[in-house]
């Protein structure tokens, strides 16, 4: 039998010439630019949706006139027209509310999915929505007793939405805070809150029960100029903080041990992301009720186009989340004469759309 020539295996196969490095860097920069282009396209889509959203209603305003009115508002010029008044007082708070809700929930959802390494995660995974629902139900049940007037529901919803995060923080002090532990703790808290909510609803009168039920279905009707600054502040600060955490989340994608050897305190980052996501989601949910699906579906759609680098994923999910929320709001007002709560629409549109994308995708998770 002829013996193979083994001598060729002795030399190194490594390319140490450095040739082609510039070309590779150039290709990568081009690759990144294409991903940034996706964000620009979605942003343009959002601007178009703005015109449609603000223009539609019982008092119709033309597409072109909407942008004129918004521009006038930005530069501080009031032409005294009815259009200006309708845009600034009625339509714009709702539009800005939709954008804030979409941006905040999508950024929080993207960060939560990356942090928990779980495609099913959304801003409410750790039990935030059930906490908020219980808080709101409790506030409605106690009514005037809590002495916070119309803000009682918002304050209670916000505070109780943060309780699951507080429980996880306490557990983390006793035990290693793994993604599975965070999800399981969140589910446990969710069951407790759901049971308490149902108990309080049973003890309520019909009017309070209807109010509590309505609160659980997300709507933008309650968004006004008076509560928008708080929502904007929470969503903006939270989103910037999550964007800052993106590079840590990227490194944690390589596994806890790898991230630790890079000098990352994995436990600390995980807790920090949980706290930020909880505050953002609680801040939004306490004003609007539970608006589902945006926080889960927007990051997934973005992953198909920009990949899983959180430095691109989080901003793109924010823009897409805003566009999806504004689009859902348009549909909620356009389909039938009675306004359908946006929480219903986001799930009705998001569900089939997401299913279609999942079926189209060849990979298990993108």
């Amino acid at each position: 039998m002829k013996r193979p020539n083994f001598s060729r295996f002795k030399s190194s196969s490594l390319d140490t010439t450095g040739a082609g490095v510039d070309e590779l860097v150039h290709t990568y920069r081009h690759f990144r630019m294409r991903k940034l282009l996706f964000i620009v396209v979605i942003a343009i889509f959002l601007v178009i949706l703005t015109g449609l959203s603000v223009g539609m209603g019982q008092y119709e305003i033309s597409f072109h006139r909407v942008y004129e009115c918004i521009w006038n508002l930005i530069i501080g010029y009031d032409d005294g027209s009815v259009d200006m008044s309708v845009v600034s007082v009625q339509r714009l708070p709702r539009l800005v509310g939709a954008i804030v809700v979409g941006c905040g929930l999508a950024a929080a959802g993207g960060a939560m999915q990356s942090m928990l390494k779980n495609p099913l995660a959304d801003p409410y995974t750790t039990g935030i929505s059930s906490g908020a629902c219980f808080g709101a139900t409790l506030a409605i049940s106690l009514g005037a007793l809590i002495g916070l007037g119309s803000y009682g529901t918002v304050v209670f919803a916000f505070l109780f939405a943060l309780i699951p995060a507080a429980v996880i923080l306490m557990l983390a002090a006793m035990k290693k805070c793994s993604p599975a532990m965070m999800i399981l703790a969140g589910i446990s808290v969710m069951y407790i809150f759901n049971a308490l909510t149902q108990y309080f609803m049973l003890t309520m009168d019909e009017q309070d029960m209807a109010a509590a039920y309505q609160w659980t279905i997300g709507t933008l009707v309650k968004v006004t100029w008076s509560n928008l600054p708080i929502m904007i502040a929470i969503a903006a600060i939270g989103s910037v903080a999550l964007f800052y955490m993106a590079k840590f989340l990227n490194a944690m994608n390589g596994g806890d041990a790898f991230a630790k050897t890079l000098g990352i305190d994995v436990q600390k980052i995980r807790i920090l992301v949980l706290v930020i996501v909880s505050i953002v989601a609680a801040g939004i949910v306490s004003f609007t009720g539970v608006i589902g699906f945006i926080g889960m579906v927007a990051p997934h759609i973005c992953r198909m186009f920009v990949g899983s680098d959180n430095r691109l994923l989080i901003p793109s999910a924010m823009v897409l989340g805003a566009a999806l929320t504004v689009f859902s709001d348009i549909i909620s007002r356009a389909v039938i004469s009675v306004e359908v709560p946006i929480g219903v629409i986001t799930s009705l549109i998001g569900g089939p759309l997401f299913l279609f994308l999942v079926l189209r995708e060849t990979k298990e998770v993108w």
Partner: protein
């Protein structure tokens, strides 16, 4: 860089069993160092005490004379990198983005262009430039290892620790990865410490072999010095015949009576437990 392990002891919290019982080891020359030993013997624990993923119960690990406990992870990441056994690819990034993570310890110190050039150089070095813009999860197990090694090299380390880089790879890719590591150690003049299981791949490519058994270093030296039939019998409790192939030891593992004696024992225990459980169920059903 010189790595010194002095009288290292290790016991897991809430366990009375001491895993490492006074390990002494000095690695002071660049090259490919393979750590061999049966499962659960503490070879990973010993190596993890070097990069601080585990903390020794007693004893010390010094890198260039400095105790690792006095070196922060961030500081250490600038001269020591770690290639994990496998990587969760739930949400995987592109190969280039994955390799660029190796520049994380240098953020704020080097500009983005420099980082990209270093990552690209290592991608080219490992010959995976065609995969650079592909998703990590689209790659084969062997390509995964190459990407993770490229990421480790992008940290520009003096010491590279690889945890079972040949696990789950077919024979050809085991050889490709080990040869790659040997060549990298020589070209870059760095120390590469590899935890591995395959005796022949180790014999073929290792510059030095460290055998861990019974919580101590059982043998330490060149493949010719360490990979003997006696050491293999002592380490894995298997018989072997050693010959020479391409100037390196070649190990032929032998089948023999008594090889599966412990397997018989385990199967016997399982059967006994099954019988006991069945008897108990039968008794309960009678009641």
């Amino acid at each position: 860089m010189k790595v010194e392990i002095k009288d290292l002891h290790f016991t897991y919290p809430n366990s009375s069993k001491e895993i490492l019982k006074g390990v002494d080891l000095v690695i002071d020359k660049p090259g490919l160092v393979c750590v061999l030993g049966p499962n659960g013997v503490g070879k990973s624990t010993m190596v993890y005490c070097i990069n601080k993923l585990q903390t020794a119960t007693s004893g010390e690990v010094l890198i260039d004379g400095k105790n690792v406990n006095d070196i922060s992870f961030k500081e250490m990441a600038k001269f020591l990198s770690f290639v994990p056994h496998n990587e969760d690819d739930t949400f995987s990034m592109s190969v280039m983005e994955t390799v660029l993570l190796g520049r994380f310890p240098f953020k704020g110190e080097t500009d983005a262009m420099t980082d990209m050039r270093i990552a690209a150089e290592n991608i080219k070095l490992l010959g995976i430039e065609d995969l650079a813009m592909q998703g990590f999860d689209n790659l084969s197990a062997g390509q995964h290892q190459k990407v993770m090694i490229a990421r480790g090299l992008t940290q520009e380390p003096q010491i590279l620790i690889c945890d079972e880089p040949t696990a789950n790879l077919d024979v050809r890719y085991q050889m490709i990865v080990m040869r790659l590591l040997r060549d990298l150690a020589r070209i870059k003049q760095i120390t590469i410490i590899v935890i591995c299981h395959d005796l022949n791949v180790t014999a073929q490519y290792a510059d030095r072999v460290v055998m861990v058994y019974g919580g101590k270093i059982m043998a330490d030296g060149t493949p010719e010095e360490t990979l003997t039939a006696e050491n293999i019998k002592a380490l894995f409790n298997v018989e072997s015949e050693i010959s020479e192939l391409q100037g390196r030891p070649h190990i032929a593992l032998l089948d023999y009576d008594g090889l599966d004696s412990h397997v018989d024992e385990i199967l016997g225990n399982i059967n006994r437990m099954k019988e006991e459980a069945a008897a108990e169920i039968a008794e309960h059903s009678k009641e």
